[in-house]
Symmetry: C2
Subunit: 352 residues, 2 copies
C-alpha cells in the first residue's frame, strides 16, 4: 500500500503553497509560468492522482449519475444504458447502474442525480422520498396512465401509439386475428393493452378477452403494470418477462386459438413464448407470426430475429442522460419530449 501523494506533498517539493498547486492542476487563476512547469513535473514524478472524493466534497458534485433499473437481464435496459454512457461522456459524467438498490440506498450512493427506468418507479420515489430528500431526477416514460411527478422531466416512448403501428404493420402483412400476450391481467389499465383492445374490439367482438393471453392466472403473484407504485412491494423484485412468455405460449396452445399472429409485451417475453411454441412443434414464422416491443439486442440475437417496434434505444438513453445532466447544471430543459419510433423488421413475421 503506497503512501497517498497529495497536493501538499507537491507544494512542499515545489516550494509553493497548495493554492498554487491547485490552480496549476486545475488550470485556473494565475500562476507564474516557470512554477507551473515545475509543479506539473513534480506531480508527474510523484505519480500524483487527484482524490475524487475530496474534489466531490468540495465541489458538491460527484460527476456521477445513477441509472435506477432493476432488471439488468433485460437487454432493452442495457441498450438504454449503453446510450447513456455515450451521452454522459461529453459532459464528463459517468453513469452507474446498481441492480439491487432500494430507495434507502440511494442516499448512500455518490451521485448527482438519477435516471428512473419508468414512470411508476419515478412516481413512487417522488412520493416516498421527494419531499424529504432532494435529488435531481429524470425518467423514461412509456405513456402509461401514471402521473409522473411534476418535478421529474420525462422522455416518453408512447407505447399506445406503437401498438397502433404494430397492428397496422401486421394488418398490412395480411393478419386479421392478432392475439396479445401480456404479463399483466386483462383488466389492467396500461398503454399496450388498452390500445390492443381498442384496435381488436371489432375483430373479436365478445371473444376479445380470449385472445388476450393473460398469464396472471398462472402466476402466484399478480402484478399490475403499476406494480412499482405499491409501497408494500419490495423493490428488489426482478421481473422475469422471459419466464412469463413461456406461460403465455401455454395459454395460447391450451385455447387452440385461430390467431395468425401474436403481439408480445416485449422481446424477453417474446423469446420465452417462441421458445415454448417451438418446443411444442410450432415453427415461427411459418406457423405463426410473432412481433413485440423493445427492438433490443436480445431480440436481434434471437432465432428467429424478432420483429419489434421501439425508439432508437441508444438515443433514448443518451437523451435521458444529457437531459439529467443539463438539469443538474441548472440549464433550461424541456420537461416533456417524445422519442420517435420505428419497426425493426426481423424474421418472426410472415405475410399471410
Amino acid at each position: 500500500m503506497e503512501q497517498k501523494v497529495t497536493r501538499k506533498d507537491i507544494a512542499k517539493l515545489a516550494g509553493v503553497s497548495v493554492s498554487v498547486v491547485s490552480r496549476t492542476l486545475n488550470n485556473s487563476g494565475y500562476v507564474a509560468e516557470e512554477k507551473k512547469k515545475r509543479i506539473l513535473e513534480i506531480a508527474n514524478d510523484l505519480h500524483y492522482v487527484p482524490h475524487p472524493v475530496a474534489m466531490s466534497l468540495q465541489q458538491a458534485r460527484t460527476k456521477q449519475i445513477l441509472f435506477y433499473c432493476k432488471d439488468l437481464h433485460n437487454a432493452f435496459n442495457i441498450d438504454l444504458y449503453t446510450g447513456m454512457l455515450e451521452g454522459a461522456k461529453d459532459y464528463g459524467y459517468m453513469v452507474l447502474i446498481n441492480g439491487n438498490l432500494e430507495f434507502d440506498d440511494i442516499r448512500n450512493t455518490m451521485v448527482d442525480g438519477i435516471i428512473f427506468q419508468n414512470e411508476a418507479l419515478a412516481s413512487r420515489y417522488a412520493k416516498e422520498y421527494g419531499k424529504n430528500y432532494y435529488m435531481p431526477a429524470v425518467t423514461a416514460s412509456f405513456g402509461e396512465p401514471v402521473d409522473p411527478p411534476k418535478a421529474v422531466p420525462v422522455i416518453e416512448w408512447d407505447v399506445s401509439e406503437s401498438m397502433d403501428k404494430a397492428i397496422a404493420y401486421l394488418r398490412k402483412k395480411g393478419h386479421r386475428k392478432i392475439a396479445y400476450a401480456s404479463p399483466y391481467p386483462y383488466s389492467d389499465n396500461n398503454g399496450r393493452s388498452n390500445s390492443w383492445k381498442r384496435n381488436m374490439r371489432y375483430v373479436f367482438r365478445d371473444t376479445l378477452e380470449n385472445y388476450y393471453l393473460d398469464i396472471s392466472s398462472l402466476t402466484e403473484q399478480k402484478y399490475s403494470s403499476t406494480y412499482w407504485l405499491d409501497e408494500r412491494s419490495r423493490l428488489s423484485h426482478e421481473e422475469t418477462f422471459y419466464d412469463k412468455g413461456g406461460l403465455a405460449a401455454d395459454i395460447f396452445l391450451g385455447r387452440k386459438l385461430d390467431a395468425t399472429a401474436i403481439l408480445c409485451f416485449n422481446d424477453e417475453f417474446a423469446a420465452g413464448l417462441i421458445q415454448r411454441l417451438e418446443k411444442r412443434g410450432y415453427r415461427i414464422p411459418e406457423d405463426l407470426s410473432v412481433m413485440s416491443f423493445d427492438a433490443s439486442f436480445h431480440g436481434r440475437s434471437f432465432s428467429p430475429i424478432i420483429t419489434s417496434i421501439a425508439p432508437d434505444n441508444k438515443k433514448f438513453g443518451s437523451d435521458l442522460a444529457t437531459l439529467l445532466i443539463r438539469y443538474i447544471n441548472g440549464e433550461k430543459i424541456s420537461y416533456f419530449t417524445r422519442q420517435p419510433v420505428h419497426i425493426r423488421e426481423g424474421e418472426s413475421v410472415k405475410a399471410v
Copy 2:
C-alpha cells in the same frame, strides 16, 4: 433545492456539539441516554441524511467497488454482476459497473477496489498503472496462458478442463466429429482451443484445422485472445461474439463439414451461429448439435435452450466480490481458488 441539513444543524438544535451528534448517529462512544433520544428525534424531524461523500473522505472508504467489464450485452457478465451484488451486500458494499471506462477513468471513480472481468485486463492494468497507482483488485480468470499479476488474487474457471468435459459429454452422446468455433485464430494460444486440439488431434489427423471454424479471416480486425494485453488497443472496444457466431456458421456451411456437433466459444457466439444455421435451413439439434460455454441467461432464454458448460455464475460473481472486500479489509485471503464447473443440459444437443 432544499437546504442541506448537516450534523451541525442538529447539534445546534439539540444544544450539544457535533461530536455528540456523530457519536449518536454512528452509535459509537458514550452519549447520555436522554441526549441520544433527543438527537435522534431532531435528526428525524429535520429529515437528516448523512453525506456519503464526506463520510467517504473521512473514513478513506467509499464502500463501493467496481466491476470492470466492457461487454454488458454478454449475459454471462450480467450473471456475474448479479452474484457480486449479493455477495457485496452482506458487507455493506455496492458494486458499480461502468461500461466504457478507460483505465485513466478509474482513478476518478469513487471506489475502494476493482474486479476485473478477465486476467488479460487485470494484467494490462497492473502493467500500465499498478506501479504508480495503488488500488486493490481481484480478477476472474479462465486459466488462459496469461500471467496474472502477482498482487491480484484470482478466482479461476479452468476452461481447458471444461473443454475436456464438454467433449467427453458429447462423446457420450455418440458424437465423434466435433468442430470448434472460435473468435480467435487457429494459431492462437488459448485454453479452449488448445484443449480442443489436444482432444481432436487423433480424430481429425491432418484435417484438424479444417474443423476449427476460424472467423479471423473474415473479420477486419484480428483479435487474439490476449487482445487486451496489447497496449495500443483501445479499451472501449466491445466484442460482438454474437456477430462472430454468424460468421462461423458461414464457414461451417462453406466447408460442408461432416461434423455432427459444434462446440462454440460461448453462448453469445452460439446464438449467432444457430441463428444463421437455422436461417439456412438447418434444424438444431435435429441436423446438428451445438454446445457452448458460459451457461448464461441468454443461452437459457434462447430457442433451443443452449446446452452449455460453466461454473455457477452467480456464485462466481459473489465469490469475486467477497474476495475483493476481504482483501480491502486486510483480511487473510487465498490468492488462488477455482470454481467447480457443471454442464447445463439444454435442447441443443441430441444423441446420435
